[in-house]
């Protein structure tokens, strides 16, 4: 029986201390003097004299403002507005150390909120960030003012599909005289969300973390890419697992006890590709590479590759220094030009650290995105320095990490990101995420808009 895709969310509070954005400092002597003055002024009426300015409980401890509870502070600043001489609300340096130069403390805050609650972050008072910027920040998505086919989808009365197909998709079928399909047939499988988990960095490849990823992928109906050596060592198997093999692995696929839906090949090696093709005829084979030239894509396509995984570093930059957004657009356009875009699947990972990046990457041409550092941030991993690439980056997971907690955090994150994807699709009036792929006409880029709006204005010469 048909069942609507649903991710079960439940509260999963942080297990390691999470630094609040602000710290509240109160001048204790000033406070004592103030209280005495207030008690005199209000003739001993404690209810009035001791009434506090905070709605969120910062001063609700047994000794009130003498030991402010900074973790409850939401930075409304009412306390410091009322009592400028006594109260100071400062940015917490520990909070500023969260994440790294790309995965900013603000991103960590958002991801942790999403992983904790499974909700869509909602706030009042408008947008606070930079106007635009490089990469994803210089891109906006479209919306429609009037009724589109599935306008009500967001609120559940109608259905918006987030399902995507991965694998080999022949442009047409051929039949023999008896009506039997001949030639290539579709070898695809579906994922209910256009998100998979990318290979974890070696510094985080603990059995527990791997187990969290596998279990979360199973529950969410998605996949996790894991080095084949790790699979064998931990004796992991299942539909959710995508073995990552390289020609450097000796007898990589020997001893693999299951037939995966997909196998990822790290870097092009025709011999290994052919071997996998023969041994795992029912599996999709994905070629993973950190950059693809137009010629590469054509060559691999003609060699039979139908699933491509374009990887960038954790900050979203490819080997040639270009941002992943441009790399995706280029790869997508190359397939379009070659007239085979619908036959291939384009996956991408690197630099996808916020919910908004998923629809943006899909608009640029991906079928599905791979998550990496966002999963680690959701599990409260500490970034050890600037984490640029998988091999050299260090992450420290919480000591109290448990599989159940981790799975719930990731499921919450996925639920929140999927809901946000639905918001974007709903605003555009799109019925399914598959129709978003490569829909550049539904995107707006800062440099184009600026050129149109500001051309002719003195000083604008872009």
């Amino acid at each position: 029986m048909y069942q609507r895709y649903h991710l079960e969310t439940s509260s999963a509070p942080e297990i390691a201390p999470f630094p609040n954005r602000t710290r509240v400092k109160v001048q204790k002597r000033g406070l004592a003097t103030h209280l005495v003055r207030e008690l005199v002024r209000y003739r001993g009426n404690r209810a009035v004299a001791l009434s506090r300015p905070c709605l969120y409980g910062v001063f609700s401890g047994p000794v009130g403002g003498f030991a402010p509870r900074s973790d409850s502070c939401v930075a409304c600043l009412r306390c410091t507005v009322e009592y400028p001489e006594m109260v100071r609300v400062c940015l917490n340096p520990e909070h500023l150390r969260l994440g790294d130069s790309y995965f900013t403390p603000g991103h960590v805050d958002t991801v942790c909120y999403e992983a904790r609650t499974g909700r869509v972050p909602v706030k009042g008072a408008g947008y606070r960030g930079r106007f635009g910027g490089a990469g994803w920040d210089g891109m906006w998505t479209d919306m429609s003012e009037i009724v589109r086919p599935t306008r009500d989808g967001i609120h559940g009365r109608e259905f918006i599909s987030t399902s995507v197909d991965i694998g080999q998709k022949p442009p047409f079928l051929t039949f023999d005289e008896q009506g039997v399909v001949t030639g290539r047939s579709a070898r695809t499988f579906s994922m209910p969300i256009p998100v998979l988990f990318d290979v974890p960095p070696p510094s985080a490849l603990s059995p527990k973390f791997v187990q969290i990823l596998v279990s979360a992928a199973q529950k969410a109906g998605t996949m996790v890419v894991l080095p084949v050596g790790v699979l064998k060592r931990l004796k992991l198997e299942g539909r959710a697992i995508v073995p990552l093999v390289s020609h450097k692995d000796d007898n990589a696929l020997e001893g693999l006890r299951f037939t995966p839906l997909m196998i990822e090949l790290e870097g092009w090696n025709e011999t290994l590709f052919r071997e996998i093709l023969v041994r795992f005829a029912d599996s999709a084979i994905c070629l993973r590479q950190d950059s693809f030239s137009k010629e590469d894509l054509s060559k691999y396509y003609h060699s039979g590759v139908r699933v491509f995984h374009l990887t960038a570093n954790y900050h979203g930059f490819g080997r040639d220094g270009r941002f992943v957004l441009d790399l995706i657009r280029e790869a997508h356009a190359a397939f379009l030009e070659a007239g085979c875009r619908d036959e291939v699947t384009l996956l991408g990972s690197g630099g996808i650290i916020a919910a908004e990046h998923v629809p943006k990457a899909i608009i640029c041409g991906l079928d599905a995105v791979g998550l990496d550092t966002a999963l680690l941030a959701a599990l409260q991993a500490r970034f050890l320095g600037d984490c640029l690439d998988r091999q050299s980056s260090g992450f420290q997971l919480p000591r109290r990490l448990s599989v159940d907690w981790g799975v719930q955090r990731i499921e919450n994150l996925l639920a929140s990101w999927r809901d946000q994807l639905l918001e974007i699709l709903g605003a555009m009036g799109l019925r399914e995420v598959r129709r978003l792929r490569g829909e550049i006409g539904r995107a707006m880029f800062q440099k184009n808009l600026e050129r149109e709006a500001f051309a002719g204005i003195k000083g604008y010469d872009h």
């Binding site: 001791l50 506090r52 905070c54 709605l55 008072a125 947008y127 930079r130 998505t141 003012e145 600026e450």
Partner: protein, 453 residues
């Protein structure tokens, strides 16, 4: 009222209302409110002088601490600051923040005593009633429920004093606003909350909200904690249940359907001017033309970076284009179609300062609509906790019976009036320094802008 009355925790306490405390403590409530109101007002007075260095957690890229504090100062003095606060631009690195005005050399500027006309017509068609406002701005739609009745009243009083307008938003029309009905725009939005025949009949301007910049394509959100009994009664809904306005109007599939909507209003109130509030999608130029042909007198372009109510963060940042890009696109397209002179284009969604107003007009708007700037003038710190629990800790975007008392309507109206006065002074200076005597002559004058990005 308990000693912690000002820190009742959201939902549970909100449900039980102000009577949670015992008889004795309840009697302290006026005194507690009075005490905190006095301290807040003192703080709004002191902080612009104490300076931003002491408020490291205040502000963001769009509304820097300088902008917030300078708005507080303008709301107190009615003049632009002269204490070094940057009151003209924010620090967002784009849009209005990288545009400057090309002022004439000092010896070529118009004399200070010369008359400068800031008025704009809201109906530019040759028929229907003529409404002119003396300043090129009016107040944005903020609903009862998203803000308190006191704040609504303060805005209405200011609109009346300045002979301009404010808008109900989509939360209905409190009776207390009726005294100001000639200056209150009735908004009809997708939720139709509180829309009644008489509030349409009473209005000089009726606004159809198709979309709003902060959450384009998503409809209004009023989270359950803010749906108090009074709010629910006004909206004819159930208390403490979140209200998500549908999106869009489910009867509008085309420009023809859009015209049908406007015709309904004209049937009820033939004298009303019709405003259409839309967001800024890629085809905003076509939407603008469609609105004109449907009969709209005013087109309100609501950019994606503004908004005062609760909105998903992803919508604010990601969906639809900023107003700085939408204005010139619409202005040019309407001009090319030969209809620019027959519709008033009002820009909103990220207009913070008098300089933003001038830049928006130079890009092609006739005037602007102010939302957040008004709230900041009344004491908003832009903390973004509007939707949480009892709402704004300053009592602005809150209908909590206790918190909303922190904003007294006459005090707030005074501050708004002062902000308007400061904007008026600055706009007059800006025009003189550009060599212009009428704000209408600035419309579309991109040659008077300099890009500094």
């Amino acid at each position: 009222m308990t000693t912690n009355s000002m820190l009742k925790n959201s939902r549970e306490d909100s449900h039980s209302g102000p009577s949670v405390a015992g008889e004795e403590s309840r009697s302290d409530e006026p005194l507690i409110v009075k005490k905190h109101t006095a301290y807040l007002r003192r703080g709004f007075h002191l902080w612009p002088e104490l300076g931003k260095d002491n408020l490291p957690a205040m502000g963001d890229y769009r509304w820097t601490s300088d902008l917030i504090l300078s708005t507080w100062l303008q709301a107190e003095t009615g003049k632009p600051p002269n204490n070094g606060l940057e009151y003209r631009v924010g620090n967002s690195g784009g849009g209005f923040d990288v545009l400057d005005l090309k002022f004439l050399p000092e010896d070529q500027r118009l004399a200070n005593h010369g008359v400068v006309n800031l008025s704009i017509p809201l109906n530019r068609r040759p028929y229907d009633c003529s409404i002119e406002i003396p300043v090129p701005f009016y107040g944005a739609g903020m609903s009862f429920g998203s803000i308190s009745e006191q704040v609504m009243l303060a805005r209405a009083k200011t609109a009346q004093a300045w002979n301009t307008f404010t808008s109900t938003g989509e939360g209905g029309y409190p009776d207390s606003l009726l005294a100001y009905k000639d200056h209150v725009i009735t908004q009809v939005a997708t939720g139709m909350f509180g829309v009644r025949e008489e509030t349409i009949r009473d209005a000089r301007i009726v606004e159809f909200k198709y979309a709003q910049g902060a959450k384009p394509g998503l409809g209004g959100h009023l989270l359950g904690d803010k749906v108090t009994t009074a709010v629910a009664s006004m909206r004819e809904s159930v208390p403490w249940i979140s209200l998500f306005s549908p999106f869009p109007f489910h009867s509008v599939y085309s420009v023809e359907d859009h015209k049908k909507h406007l015709d309904w209003i004209k049937t009820i109130n033939p004298k009303a001017l019709l405003a259409v509030k839309v967001s800024t999608p890629t085809d905003i130029d076509m939407v603008a033309v469609g609105s004109y042909y449907a009969g709209a007198h005013i087109l309100n372009l609501d950019g994606s970076y503004g908004g005062t109510g609760a909105a998903p963060e992803i919508a604010k940042k990601t969906i639809a284009m900023p107003i700085e890009f939408a204005i010139p696109r619409v202005h040019r397209y309407l001009s090319q179609e030969g209809i620019r002179g027959e519709i008033t284009v009002m820009a909103s969604g990220g207009i913070r300062t008098a300089y933003d107003i001038a830049k928006a007009i130079a890009l092609g708007a006739d005037g602007v609509i102010l939302g957040t700037a008004e709230l900041v003038a009344m004491g908003c710190t832009r903390c973004g906790n509007c939707e949480r629990g009892r709402g704004c800790p300053f009592g602005l975007t809150s209908t909590d019976p206790e918190l909303s008392q922190l904003v007294e309507e006459n005090w707030a109206a005074g501050r708004l009036g002062n902000l308007y006065r400061s904007f008026q002074l600055q706009l007059r200076d800006i025009l003189r320094w550009l060599g212009l005597t009428r704000i209408q002559d600035l419309v579309g004058r991109t040659d008077l802008l300099i890009y500094g990005g």
